[in-house]
Symmetry: C2
Subunit: 219 residues, 2 copies
């Protein structure tokens, strides 16, 4: 039996963190369609595809993160948690993360991806990424845009599983944001029930985080 | 730092369980509006209301549950988890649960409510309720129908907090269903993205459960 008490997450104010910039990180794909086309080609030559798909779930595991802190002064007074998103162009928002290398441990892979997106160029000054709780899994049954928070019946070989983890930040940290991306801190109330703007994965983060008790630490 | 491994939940087939009936459990309220009116009156006389609301969150904590098993033969083959819901009348579905007594421990209160709704009349044959993980919290900021998966900014005294827990079933169990209610086993794929039919709380259970790994046990 699992204890039913709530997990407590420490959330520090924005003033705890320092943000810099670094060279652009070009996105490999400019649309979801491009990404799906690349996934198909990269998996395996067509003749081997059936075989490779038998263990495609760990191979394609993706990672995302949450950094919770207060950005806007008005909101800070009300102690409302925010989620860090990367904005590409004028409207498209995504969670940082990416694909695992074959055989790579999921925690190691997520740390590698976080450092690549937001770590300083110097390996001596990498953030100490504290990977926390898994908060959701999303499955892509076919090479199509639609994903589900379960593996649908009849699907024995899903093409991708995207796994979302909470990332706990220490009290002080330095982040380097690629010049072609914007780092946005979006409050939970902006994400909630806003599937049109943020899509089904990001817009239901508030529900997935509702089980946590946030300990909002004052500046 | 919390380990990032997935929680594993054992899910037994329907044939593991026995279902009987018992006398009707009349619902105290026939609509959400009735319930809100009753909440207002029950909290405290108007002159004391401000004081009582200062600790209303634990007082109003509500509980709900999930029992995951396979009901339909076709789905059973595909190992897809189901959620147990109570149907009242022809369309309205709810999770079993209810209000805590003042000062009552939340686990004790949930067990009391589950036994009241689904336990046999004999206290000697009560199910061994295994209350598991908290999966979500929903806040009601005012005496109105709308709830949020966070306490909205500006709200210092929410009127109700509904807390959803997973309930783990043993391999065998007997349930007594009140004659005026129907017990429904609804697959995750029926709930997902179906806010029109199930409302915002129940329709996002699939996302909240996606972090668990279900170990589907054969009959």
């Amino acid at each position: 039996m699992v204890a039913a008490s709530s997990s407590v997450v420490a959330v520090y104010p924005l003033s705890s963190y320092t943000f810099g910039t670094k060279e652009p990180k070009l996105e490999k794909d400019t649309s979801v369609a491009d990404r799906l086309a690349r996934m198909k080609v990269n998996v395996a030559p067509p003749q081997d595809r059936e075989l490779v798909f038998s263990h495609v779930v760990p191979l394609f595991t993706n990672f995302s993160w949450f950094l919770n802190y207060e950005l806007i002064k008005e909101v800070q007074e009300h102690n409302h948690p925010h989620i860090l998103l990367l904005q590409i162009g004028n409207t498209f928002c995504k969670l940082p993360g990416g694909r695992l290398k074959p055989g790579e441990n999921e925690i190691d892979g997520l740390k590698r991806k976080l450092s690549s997106k937001l770590g300083a160029n110097s390996t001596a000054h990498q953030p100490n990424w504290q990977i926390g709780e898994c908060v959701a899994n999303w499955w892509r049954p076919n090479f199509e845009t639609v994903m589900y928070p379960y593996c649908p019946p009849h699907i024995t070989k899903p093409k991708e599983c995207k796994k979302l983890f909470m990332v706990h930040l220490p009290e002080r940290e330095y982040f380097a944001v690629p010049k072609n991306l914007k780092l946005l801190a979006v409050p939970l109330f902006e994400l909630y029930d806003n599937v049109q703007r943020y899509g089904p994965v990001i817009s239901t983060i508030p529900q997935q985080l509702s089980r946590f008790q946030f300990n909002m630490i004052s500046p």
